[in-house]
């Protein structure tokens, strides 16, 4: 016993890679968590519960969940075909299109909001026309969705593109050669095989939409989403006003993500 235990010690003198990994990963997790814990600790639980019934908070939560859901759906409906095309096309300019898709990520959201205003604002042709038709694109749920979709939908496209690329094209050819339409092929072969990646993308998009602030602030402001409400609370009341709303946002977002992933998986 003594011998083997000595051997065992000399046999693993190198730094354990798993330990290094766990330490590095743990540091990152702590880095994510520390501010959140600090956030949670800064507000008594009673205060949070109290604010949960506050109509402005309820309205903001409703608006956020509704708009983020609509944005995620729009991002999926419009993004999946684009992702599929990006994954499948042999055209040289797919890279140019991909660059376009990544641009909203690079652009600071506030700038995104400002440039979106130049297109959808009440003074721009599209915005004015929509407004005249009784469907204003700013200061409305539509505006919120426009802003969230702009910043969040690239996640669906980028992630779903990778998922589609992982589906062997031969399988699609096989399906069509067996007499199935492109639509049937997509539904029964491509989508099921790409589903996990697509779900990850939709999750990211939903999360990003829930957290969207800069562009929403510029494009819509009303109806207030939770991030805007946090901002308003902060500006009016300082950190003490903003923290409870921020905590409620985090709780709602996490709950929504858990539900999204449980239902879909």
């Amino acid at each position: 016993m003594a011998t083997s235990s000595t051997e065992s010690e000399t046999a693993t003198p190198t730094v354990d890679w798993l330990t290094v990994a766990l330490v590095l990963g743990g540091v990152l997790c702590l880095y994510y968590l520390a501010p959140l814990v600090s956030l949670l600790l800064s507000v008594p639980i009673g205060e949070i519960v109290g604010r949960m019934g506050d109509p402005t908070v309820v309205n903001a939560a409703t608006t956020s969940l509704l708009s983020a859901s609509i944005s995620a759906v729009i991002a999926t409906v419009f993004g999946l075909p684009l992702a599929y095309w990006l994954a499948r096309s042999e055209a040289r300019w797919t890279n140019a299109v991909l660059a376009v898709v990544i641009l909203p990520l690079v652009l600071p959201p506030t700038v995104s909001g400002i440039v979106l205003l130049t297109v959808f604002g009440p003074n721009a042709p599209i915005g004015a026309a929509a407004s005249a038709a009784g469907f204003p694109l700013t200061r409305s749920l539509a505006g919120v969705v426009l802003a969230q979709t702009f910043v969040a939908s690239p996640f669906v496209v980028v992630t779903a593109k990778a998922a589609f690329e992982s589906v062997d094209r031969t399988l699609e050819h096989a399906s069509r050669s067996l007499g199935k339409s492109q639509w049937t092929t997509a539904r029964r072969v491509t989508l099921p095989l790409a589903a996990p990646g697509i779900l990850a993308g939709v999750t990211l998009a939903f999360a990003r939409a829930m957290g969207e602030f800069g562009a929403t602030m510029m494009l819509a402001y009303y109806p207030r989403t939770m991030p805007v409400q946090i901002w308003v609370s902060f500006v009016s009341l300082g950190l003490d006003g903003a923290y409870p709303v921020a905590i409620i946002l985090v709780v709602i977002a996490v709950a929504a993500l858990v539900i999204l992933n449980t239902v879909a998986a």
């Binding site: 031969t170 050819h173 096989a174 399906s175 050669s177 067996l178």
Partner: protein, 352 residues
């Protein structure tokens, strides 16, 4: 009847075609080395790749601009392309109109035992059987097979090859069977198209292609390893070939005197004359350079006198034992007049 007219497709530095082909209710084997364009040809017929020019018709219907699902052609991919998220049964059911059809095909292709396994757990042979069942379930008007046996181990390959021949014949539809394996091509094809560099070099029955290759490439790719250059001459009004120090009588009188040509003779047609005293017009003496055991027989490499080339002779084991040859032995070979085939005139074309 599957008819292909003037089909061309370029990608990168490679050009396919123009291809002209007419496939009746028969099995057409397309034989060629990898990269010769044979898979692209199938993909073009099936509509899963686009083409630059040409038309494809099936039983009179123009397929050229149709979607793959609207052609009536079914393509069987090299690795089977089974849907991995489905069982074998679900794969077949994907294309089948009825469960009766599934059971029938499962019986024919002997996959009843594995129907409820996930596609990923099947062995290579099982995978290809399921792929075939699935393709037949779709009730094809033309069946296109892309090296379906290429990735299988030799014994399975042999067994499936033996089963495929009658199965494909029984379909009574045009079948195009692509392969790079000459044995597979001859075993399965009613006719044989040899393709190189995107062009059909020869299209005929397998025996005709093997006996009378149309180009040096076809000759070498089909195993006519004895391929040489010679000059056409004339003796007493009959054509002869001048090769090395020898003159051979030939049956073919198509080429004018003085022309340089390629001729070939399959190693199994060359015979060893047992008595060095026997004289004959088409005899030739040489020395044994090497003897190779090839499993089902022996191959003897002979250096003819007055030539640097090597002439190959195949011998059955009994013949080999009886002749009792050693390296450097002097042998007399006979090249039967009928077995000598003039491939064509020499030009910039190379043998390989």
């Amino acid at each position: 009847m599957l008819a292909i007219d003037g089909l061309t497709k370029s990608y990168g530095a490679f050009d396919l075609g123009p291809i002209d082909l007419a496939v009746d209710e028969e099995v057409l084997a397309v034989l060629g080395p990898s990269g010769c364009g044979k898979t692209t040809l199938l993909a073009a017929i099936a509509g899963v790749t686009d083409t630059d020019a040409g038309t494809i018709t099936l039983n009179g219907r123009d397929l050229t601009d149709r979607a793959p699902e609207d052609r009536g052609t079914v393509l069987v991919f090299q690795d089977g392309a089974l849907f991995p998220h489905m069982t074998a049964r679900e794969n077949v059911a994907y294309a089948a109109a009825s469960t009766g059809k599934i059971d029938e095909l499962a019986a024919t292709l002997e996959i009843g035992d594995v129907l409820d396994q996930r596609a990923a757990t099947l062995s290579g042979g099982e995978r290809q059987r399921v792929a075939l069942a699935r393709s037949l379930a779709a009730d094809p008007s033309a069946l296109l097979l892309d090296e379906p046996l290429a990735n299988l181990d030799a014994p399975i390959k042999r067994r499936l090859r033996d089963e495929l021949r009658p199965l494909l014949s029984s379909l009574s539809i045009p079948v195009v069977y692509v392969t790079h394996d000459q044995h597979e091509a001859t075993a399965i094809g009613d006719r044989l198209a040899v393709v190189n560099d995107g062009v059909i070099q020869q299209l005929d029955t397998p025996s005709e292609v093997f006996a009378r290759p149309a180009t040096p490439f076809v000759a070498s790719f089909t195993g006519s390893t004895n391929l040489f250059q010679a000059r056409v001459a004339e003796e007493e009004g009959n054509p002869v070939l001048e090769w090395a120090d020898h003159r051979f009588d030939v049956a073919d009188d198509e080429y004018p005197v003085g022309v340089d040509i390629w001729f070939c003779i399959r190693p199994e047609y060359v015979t060893v004359v047992d008595d060095l005293a026997v004289e004959g017009r088409n005899n030739l003496d040489g020395h044994v350079r090497r003897r190779v055991f090839e499993g089902d027989g022996y191959r003897i490499d002979v250096t003819p006198e007055g030539a640097d080339d090597v002439l190959q002779v195949t011998l059955s084991p009994p013949d080999y034992d009886w002749l009792d040859l050693d390296d450097r032995d002097r042998v007399r070979l006979s090249l039967p007049q009928d077995a000598i085939h003039i491939v064509g005139e020499c030009d910039r074309t190379d043998a390989d």
